[in-house]
């Protein structure tokens, strides 16, 4: 051959073998983690009927996972976009309170209350995103401020309108639309003699949110922009990606997801408590990180975040079934987080290594 030829086809085959392809999946670490945690609790399960492997056990951890997952998925997307949202936990409680106030105190139709709650959440998300993109302050700080503002409003505001009580219920009497809203957001399905309470509707919402997020991130133009703004903001701007709009949309999606959690929890119990959701923002971030989302942005997976939420749900329920004190949840989560970050870093470095 007269021209210097490039490496032959053999090298091409080995360099994109199934192992590399698999290792390149950011969700791999969390999948392995979820399996390990599941097997671990199957072994340590000390309930008399071995509930962990029954539908009761599955329903118990998956409904916890759903509440974490509905948030972890958009929070993971936001992290891929290079930002944090610390106001998410507070938002879930705050939105539940808004719905409860509108329905319980003002006697609104439940659907109207839900629409207003979602719009309000979208507005908060917009403000978060707008302030972050305009001020160029770290989103960590901006959303921390939002978190405290919302938390104060939740507690102080509720005490004010509710004459000293931190709980807002709907009381007695009829509430138009509440039954149908409950059926969509706060009921259960697949009830059976073995499982009289069935599975919570929240689990379906979790699945729906995950599917939408997978599609948006992987298959839409917007998804491409999310990776770009998190990976290299200047490069994204140079090729004409609307970076501010992308980030604002991400902040709005986490807030709207938070309102979904708020609405689900309100319709389940017909009341809202002002301290609800406080501190949960860290679980969402843990789930996303366990799922392979880089803290620095630009890389990650929403399937991974969803699996991370499953791990947290399993941890909470598994500790109970194992007969351990529930304080060990936190230690357990700490260890999981540490292991996951370690594993993900190794996988990530391997995937990013130039194969030449």
């Amino acid at each position: 051959m007269s021209t210097p030829s490039l490496p032959v086809d053999d090298e091409r085959l080995t360099s994109t073998g199934w192992l590399t392809r698999t290792l390149r999946r950011p969700a791999l670490g969390s999948l392995v983690g979820a399996i390990v945690v599941f097997v671990l609790f199957a072994i340590t399960d000390s309930t008399s009927k071995h509930l962990w492997l029954s539908s009761t056990g599955f329903a118990a951890w998956s409904q916890q996972a759903a509440f974490f997952g509905i948030m972890a998925v958009p929070v993971g997307m936001l992290m891929i976009g290079g930002e944090f949202d610390l106001s998410t936990g507070g938002m879930t409680g705050f939105t539940a309170i808004i719905t409860a106030l509108l329905v319980g105190q003002l006697g609104w139709n439940a659907w109207a209350a839900i629409v207003v709650t979602v719009l309000f959440a979208a507005l908060i998300g917009f403000i978060n995103g707008y302030v972050v993109t305009r001020s160029r302050l770290p989103s960590f700080i901006v959303t921390l401020a939002t978190y405290f503002a919302l938390r104060g409003l939740s507690i102080g505001g509720v005490l004010l309108v509710n004459h000293g009580s931190t709980e807002i219920g709907v009381g007695t009497g009829t509430h138009p639309g509440l039954d149908s809203a409950k059926a969509i957001f706060g009921s259960s399905f697949l009830k059976s003699p073995d499982l009289p309470n069935g599975f919570q509707t929240a689990i379906l919402w979790f699945v729906v949110v995950t599917i939408i997020a997978v599609w948006v991130l992987g298959r839409t133009t917007f998804g491409n922009w999310v990776f770009a703004v998190g990976g290299d903001l200047d490069a994204a701007r140079n090729v004409g990606v609307p970076v501010n709009r992308t980030k604002i949309a991400l902040f709005m999606s986490t807030s709207i997801a938070a309102s979904l959690v708020g609405i689900i929890s309100f319709t389940q119990s017909s009341n809202a408590v002002s301290e609800q959701g406080v501190g949960y923002e860290f679980y969402y971030i843990i789930a996303a990180v366990v799922g392979g989302c880089l803290l620095t942005g630009g890389y990650g997976s929403v399937v991974g975040a969803a699996l991370g939420a499953c791990i947290i749900g399993m941890a909470f329920q598994g500790v109970i079934y194992s007969g351990w004190d529930s304080s060990w949840d936190f230690t357990f989560l700490g260890i999981i987080l540490f292991l996951a970050v370690g594993t993900n870093t190794v996988i990530y470095r391997r995937a990013m290594k130039a194969r030449r």
């Binding site: 490496p7 091409r12 839409t220 491409n224 770009a228 994204a236 090729v239 004409g240 630009g298």
Partner: protein, 273 residues
């Protein structure tokens, strides 16, 4: 507009920043299928010139012609619409993203309608592979992250992208400066390919050894002024190197840096003199 007018031509353009003369009466032209090299040391005015050519700045004085007609760009978008595409040093690529995602970033092909309008992933992957192959770039796998590519490969992808999006004229900002010898060779080959495809190329560099083999015309800048505008027949590689380094300055420097070899009578004699 006539057929033989250059793709792009600037005549005696100057640019001032306050009291600083960033560029003074610079002229250059590039024809389709030709490479014009702009050489200059740091601070020679190369960056200012690129910014004018790519529409970031307007020249304060002088004419700017595209296809023989005078134009006035007010934004990089104007330049891009005229088919002038600038490949910057930072490449405007996201290292963590795959090649095909990067290739179409900001101009993604879509299919479907309304809320189901989506990124046409299959088309993007196929087009990326096709365009890269057309440039003779073997990216084993378009799913590979750009960060795992070598510097030369990255430049190649950036050039292929500019060509795909309708560039008639490529402005390459120091594409070889951060690269090793072999990788720089890869990029020079791309430049030659773009030239063969009938594109005009403005190749900005401070390395005359990279410029000379691919260049058809050479413009040498020094402290905002043009030291000359030569066709390849008019200047040898050695002259270009000397011009570039400021002639006498380089000779003085090499004299200063030279070390007498031990047991060398001539050197000893020079030293004692």
């Amino acid at each position: 507009m006539t057929d033989n007018s250059p793709l792009l031509e600037v005549r005696e353009i100057s640019k001032y920043f306050g009291s600083v003369n960033a560029l003074q009466k610079i002229s250059l032209s590039v024809n389709a299928g030709e490479v014009t090299c702009v050489l200059g040391d740091n601070g020679a005015g190369k960056s200012t010139l690129i910014k004018i050519l790519s529409g970031v700045f307007s020249p304060d004085v002088g004419q700017f012609l595209v296809d023989g007609a005078e134009v006035r760009f007010t934004s990089p978008r104007d330049a891009r619409n005229a088919g002038i595409s600038t490949v910057y040093q930072d490449l405007a690529m996201v290292p963590l993203m795959s090649i095909w995602r990067n290739f179409f970033l900001g101009s993604e092909p879509t299919k479907g309608w309304g809320p189901f309008r989506r990124f046409d992933v299959a088309k993007a992957k196929a087009l990326t592979s096709k365009e890269l192959l057309a440039m003779g770039i073997d990216v084993r796998d378009p799913d590979q992250a750009v960060g795992t590519l070598s510097g030369g490969e990255r430049q190649s992808v950036a050039i292929a992208r500019a060509i795909h999006f309708g560039a008639r004229l490529l402005i390459l900002d120091e594409p070889t400066s951060a690269l090793g010898v072999k990788q720089a060779g890869v990029v020079l080959r791309r430049i030659a390919q773009a030239r063969e495809m009938g594109l005009g190329v403005i190749f900005i560099t401070h390395n005359p050894h990279h410029a000379y083999p691919v260049g058809d015309r050479f413009v040498v800048l020094n402290r905002g002024q043009s030291l000359g505008n030569f066709s390849k027949q008019e200047i040898s590689r050695e002259d270009l190197v000397r011009l570039m380094a400021g002639g006498a300055e380089l000779e003085a420097l090499s004299h200063e840096l030279e070390r007498p070899l031990p047991d060398n009578p001539i050197a000893e004699a020079q030293e004692n003199a």
